[in-house]
């Protein structure tokens, strides 16, 4: 395990120290060591909170900032934050207009958010949630409620954050964030495993010369282990289930290609060239494309594709200004 760490059991706390020192304009400490907040949130807006396991950087901390999230609850590597942490995040975000907690569909997160929400109620903090379920590989459309949340969460945060920033009500922020993530269909492909520091050995394994289509962000098994083929064939294998998930034809879309950690960004661009061709052939117009490491899995090799169907309501929110480590646009 070739890692720049101290005690493998303390990587999360040690990293938080670095974030706080590096970006004081984006991060402030709170009463909970596992919660950071944006120090300049307007107090009269709906608070945007998210949280989840660590190891997905720039998620989740990278999405704290202006026009984005106000507070983030930070879990251990690949493990939900505690209910205490979510509660403190609700308290640390502006909450006079209520709090929108926008997170991904994982059992631990569901339980901890549920408990935190109950505790917040006792403090008269109104919390509503949107649970991202954009991974088409994790369950068929009929069982959408079982799907994992993956890189579509980035879109959910951006849309929810922009709606809150312009002064939308809690119900409106929730409606738009829900609409945003419902408009997203995502899929991942994994080319290698990753190693949780405290564990010291790879989480699972992918044989050299193979890839796993539909892999989850923690290495959850996908729908198929297949021989590693060309970027062109991988693009097809990723586009097929995504395009089958929603009726994208004739619409405008936003495309997000995220690396899983160790795959060079050059390869994401090679992949995208083929995806773009495929979208064109399917009469789908691309409004914007973002390619980079937006939602990773430690040093896993691979990539995710997220396609988001846009309309006149979502587009301006997606393009609205934001300032955070992962997304800054003017």
């Amino acid at each position: 395990m070739q890692r720049i760490i101290n005690d493998p059991d303390n990587v999360v706390d040690d990293a938080i120290k670095g974030y706080l020192r590096a970006s004081p304009s984006l991060f402030a400490a709170t009463d909970h060591p596992r919660v950071l907040k944006y120090p300049s949130s307007a107090s009269d807006k709906v608070g945007i909170v998210t949280g989840g396991g660590s190891g997905h950087e720039p998620a989740f901390l990278g999405y704290i900032g202006e026009g984005m999230c106000d507070a983030v609850a930070i879990g251990e590597i690949f493990s939900s934050p505690t209910a205490d942490a979510f509660l403190e995040a609700f308290r640390s975000a502006p909450h006079g207009q209520g709090v929108a907690c926008l997170y991904g569909n994982y059992a631990g997160d569901n339980m901890n958010v549920k408990m935190a929400k109950q505790m917040a109620e006792m403090e008269d903090i109104e919390v509503k949630t949107v649970i991202a379920r954009d991974d088409v590989a994790s369950a068929p459309p009929a069982e959408r409620d079982k799907r994992r949340g993956v890189a579509g969460e980035v879109m959910m945060w951006k849309i929810g954050g922009a709606a809150a920033a312009r002064g939308d009500s809690l119900d409106e922020v929730i409606r738009l964030a829900q609409k945003a993530v419902d408009a997203c269909s995502s899929i991942g492909v994994g080319l290698s495993s990753c190693t949780i520091p405290a564990n010291g050995k790879p989480n699972f394994s992918i044989e050299p010369g193979h890839m796993e289509l539909g892999i989850g962000h923690h290495g959850e098994p996908g729908i198929e282990v297949a021989p590693l083929t060309s970027a062109e064939a991988i693009a097809t294998a990723m586009c097929d289930p995504v395009l089958a998930d929603q009726d994208f034809a004739g619409s405008e879309v936003a495309v997000l290609i995220s690396g899983l950690g160790a795959t060079p960004v050059m390869e994401l661009n090679i992949l995208y060239a083929h995806i773009a061709e495929r979208l064109e052939a399917a009469d789908i117009r691309v409004h914007r494309t973002d390619i980079g490491n937006y939602f990773t899995s430690l040093e896993m090799m691979g990539a995710t594709l997220t396609l988001m169907k846009l309309d006149d309501e979502l587009k301006p929110l997606l393009d609205a200004p934001a300032r955070s480590l992962a997304i800054t646009q003017c």
Partner: protein, 217 residues
């Protein structure tokens, strides 16, 4: 009639901490086969912290279990924080005003724990999770004390039920948690939560048994 002195809870808790910390790697390995390989890390972290915070203190069983519950909920997150947190919180509440526990009180404590856990999760027996250990173990205990109020006998039933429950997960297809994504491929592996739950119930039974004393009843 045999009873457990419930005013001295720290020692029992320390044994629970010990069994989890000792099995840190084993639990992670079990989780690694069909999950993400961190169950031992998560559990050991919470239990170790609890061990540190109760060290040297004189605590009732209720207080000790309550500390464990709060530590788990507040420190380990994941699924295990809220699940085991609720379980032990339910148990702690159940024995709050008790100085001694007889076999029936002990059974109620387990049942209250289970009920508390079920409030937070809608997992059920057959889903391949810790409930596959917990529910049959408690049921086996309940049946034992229905037949006789022999405390050691009931504890043995608890152990048997837990072990059978744990082993039942071997052939189950996971319906919840990360392993659920594996579908049929999750068969042939024990569930990590079921294993940790079995370790805990077994050690709780052992520990209780060693401490049983004749009550002047």
């Amino acid at each position: 009639m045999q009873v457990l002195d419930a005013t001295q809870g720290r020692d029992i808790l320390e044994e629970l901490v010990e069994v989890i910390v000792d099995n840190r790697q084993y639990l992670s390995d079990v989780d690694g086969a069909i999950g993400d390989g961190d169950h031992g890390i998560n559990m050991a972290k919470g239990f170790r912290l609890c061990g540190e915070s109760i060290a040297g203190q004189s605590l009732s069983l209720s207080k000790a279990l309550g500390t464990l519950a709060t530590t788990l909920m507040g420190s380990i997150g994941g699924s295990m924080g809220p699940l085991y947190g609720s379980l032990f919180m339910g148990m702690a509440k159940s024995v709050k005003d008790k100085n001694v526990l007889d076999a029936k009180d002990f059974g109620e404590m387990l049942a209250d724990g289970q009920q508390s856990l079920e409030q937070i999760s809608d997992a059920k027996v057959g889903d391949k999770c810790l409930l596959d250990t917990l529910v049959p173990a408690i049921e086996s205990y309940r049946q034992a004390i229905e037949v006789s109020d022999d405390f050691p006998n009931a504890l043995q039933a608890l152990r048997n039920g837990a072990q059978q429950g744990r082993d039942s997960t071997l052939d189950l297809e996971a319906k919840i948690g990360r392993a659920a994504r594996l579908g049929e491929r999750s068969c042939g592996h024990l569930d990590a939560g079921a294993v940790s739950c079995c370790l805990l119930l077994t050690r709780l039974a052992d520990s209780t048994e060693r401490r049983l004393e004749k009550a002047a009843a």
